[in-house]
Amino acid sequence: MIRPASPSTVHDNPFMKPMEWVSLALLAAVIFLVLPLCLDAFRLNLAGKYLSYAFVALGLVICWGFGGILSLGQGVFFGLGGYCMAMYLKLEASSVENTKIQSTPGIPDFMDWNQITALPWFWKPFASLPFTLIAVIVVPALFAFVVGTAMFRRRVGGTYFAIITQAIAAILTILIVGQQGYTGGINGITDLRTLNGWDIRTDSAHNILYFVNGALLVACILFAQYVKRSKLGRILVAMRDKEDRVRFSGYSVAGFKTFAFCLAAVFAAIGGAMFTLQVGFMSPSFVGIVPSIEMVIYAAVGGRLSLFGAVWGTLLVNWAKTTFSESFPELWLFGLGGLFILVVLAFPNGLAGIYRTYVEPRLTRRAKAPESAPTALPHAAE
């Protein structure tokens, strides 16, 4: 079990430890085999929706779990990604033929209701699919970069940063709701139909999108793992635990923090875009403070230090939410609240904490793999 201390070279630091490969295989098996085989089309589509939230939780693990930057505004990036995709889909659904009952055919219906007679300039590029796909990534990344640079350069961190991200979520919601002629207001952008001519509302399309979503999620997990094991990942953890030491060692703390924040934003945006595709609409109710905090809860329940835990946590919380609300439509919020309190009180490191404390040691003992040294449990950041 105890390994002689050796200089940490890249060779000594495999991409993933055996147990992590097992976790990945397990997750992949559930996403690609168990769920599709066990669930009907409607439930599978729901699972796909939950998995699109898992991108946000994954980003939070990097940003909050590793980097110690608690963002209570991830809904902003989820929303930006989702809105970019929704704008493209809405333009495609608003062909002159589909909208001939409007006073101005060919523009989205909510613009017509708000007496707008021409497509606003910032909507025009979203008629192109390649532009949209790039925008889904670049728009949230740029926004996170601006916010991150502004905050971290001035050494705004901890609680203050969390409050500011929350304020940004509130501001963006008010902006979207207020500018309903351009954004669909509180109704959001609804009635999305086709992606480049392909009807996304059918069961077969939902199935395909589910697998695309799953594959993207695994790709994001692998990328996050790559970041985690790289030097960059170690600096993030070092920064979380002793920011000043890292700064005195000559690293640009602001730069690393901004990177982690941007990466979390991009993950959230991919989730948002996949959400829009699978659910068929986007609304400001995903941008605001409440959904942003809910997304933090996914990561907290799953365990904010574990990439896989984040995905499990998201699945568990959303599954509980749906099941409770279907079985007890008038009482379900109490059940959900109870679940959160239980997790926070009994398992502060979430599902991953349970796994690491109780399951992994046994598995490791049984496997008796000499290489699998126990994972050092990083200190809780806050």
Partner: protein, 419 residues
């Protein structure tokens, strides 16, 4: 003779036997006739809805939690009352209605998710539900995709007509035009100030009201202001009201904002017994929160008020109070929600089938004479013909009806000249 008699007996026997034999197939048919009230399930349900020989499933989809719960509770209660009354009277095509209830949780995506669940998993023959326009817009594609049937109870902005939705509340022109005419004619109002919450319904309603004021009544709109949902600071606009002194304050502020608005109006010394105020967004439910004293004297324009005096309404109010308690108040939307199950039942029975396409085809022209609001008729555009009423708010939280349109008003969701 003897021979004849001899031959006659067997022939009479044969005849009786033949008659008996002829009766056999008729006897085989007899049990069928006793089921005439409940036609075979295979005949009334060809599209796989949740209909058995004794039951039919209907969904109820409202917010039971979140900010909208307070508004949607009444609608949900009225739907359950209507369904229990229908069941007590023998059900629909001999089948009792089974309710599957889901919580939209004041969250539009949740509404869409639950609507899909009700249609795809539960195969509901019809769904009574939604309150806000946003939730309706969210579920609309779901109902259209899976060919479901939604009865939507809220007065709303119009500009919509779906094969899969019946709108049992009023669309904007029904609600607004008659009341503006009334306040112009009876009170001599010329200048109007519009105040609304910032979303699609108030903006569309005010657009229609402005066109009517300017083009038909030849009056002027001296101000038009919007506030975010949930806004509670109205002092700046109240100052503007004092400055502009409009003949009428016309409001479509919704939800909790109403409470702050009317309290601040009163605190600023604007006396609603002297200043005309016409609202299209305050029902008995809202007054529950605002407080009768704070809004007494204001005029509200709706199609239904709890205080309506007619035998249908007296029965409805008594039944509602019996089921949900004497303290509950009944607002416009609650009554409109009550109509949904009955309109569906009538259409199903006229069509002789639960199939959505047949129910939709059978609906136009149906009249519901037992409606608490009087009687209503379904237009081919899926909205209801209904009367519009203006009523004055009383300090006890009820309304006193002061005007009623003489005829049913035709629903016009795409009004020409008002867009």
């Amino acid at each position: 003779m003897a021979e004849d008699q001899g031959n006659g007996l067997p022939s009479a026997l044969r005849r009786r036997l033949l008659m008996g034999l002829a009766g056999l197939p008729a006897m085989a048919l007899m049990p069928r006739t006793s089921f005439a009230a409940a036609p075979a399930t295979a005949a009334v349900n060809t599209t796989g809805l949740a209909v058995t020989d004794t039951e039919v499933t209907v969904g109820v989809l409202h917010s039971l939690t979140g900010t909208m719960a307070i508004s949607e509770t009444g609608a949900q209660q009225a739907e359950k009352l209507a369904i229990s009354q229908i069941n007590d009277a023998g059900g629909v095509l001999g089948r009792k209605i089974k309710i599957v209830q889901e919580d939209g949780a004041s969250d539009w995506p949740t509404f869409a998710e639950k609507a899909k669940k009700l249609l795809v998993n539960d195969h509901c023959a019809a769904v009574m539900g939604c309150w806000t326009s946003a939730s309706r817009k969210a579920v609309l594609p779901v109902f259209e995709q899976y060919n479901g049937l939604l009865y939507y109870p809220t007065f709303y902005e119009g500009l919509e007509q779906s094969k899969n939705v019946f709108y049992t509340g009023q669309e904007a022109t029904q609600q607004i035009l008659a009341s503006l005419d009334w306040i112009h004619k009876e009170k001599g109002a010329k200048t109007f100030f519009f105040i609304g919450s910032d979303y699609i319904w108030p903006r569309t309603s005010n657009k229609i009201a402005r066109k009517h004021v300017e083009n038909v009544l030849k009056g002027t709109v001296v101000g038009e202001e919007y506030f975010p949902l949930g806004h509670t600071q109205f002092n700046s606009v109240i100052n503007k009201l004092k400055l502009k002194k409009p003949d009428v304050i016309f409001t479509d502020v919704v939800g909790g904002s109403n409470v702050a608005f009317y309290k601040q109006l009163k605190a600023a010394g604007i006396d609603l017994s002297k200043q005309l105020l016409l609202t299209i967004s305050v029902t008995e439910d809202e007054i529950d929160g605002i407080g009768g004293d704070n809004i007494a004297g204001a005029y509200s324009c709706m199609k239904y008020f709890q205080s309506l005096k007619n035998p249908n309404n007296e029965k409805f109010v008594a039944a509602f109070h019996k089921m949900w308690g004497d303290k509950t108040v009944i607002g416009d939307v609650t009554q409109a929600a009550y109509l949904g199950p009955f309109l569906w039942k009538m259409a199903v029975e006229k069509a002789g089938s639960f199939d959505v396409d047949k129910v939709v085809a059978a609906s136009p022209g149906l009249e519901f004479k037992e409606a608490p609001e009087g009687y209503v008729r379904i237009d081919p555009n899926h909205h209801l013909w209904s009367k519009t009423r203006v009523a004055k708010a009383l300090p006890n939280g009820q309304f006193e009806v002061v005007y009623e349109s003489p005829e049913l008003i035709k629903p016009d969701p795409f009004p020409k000249g008002y867009q």
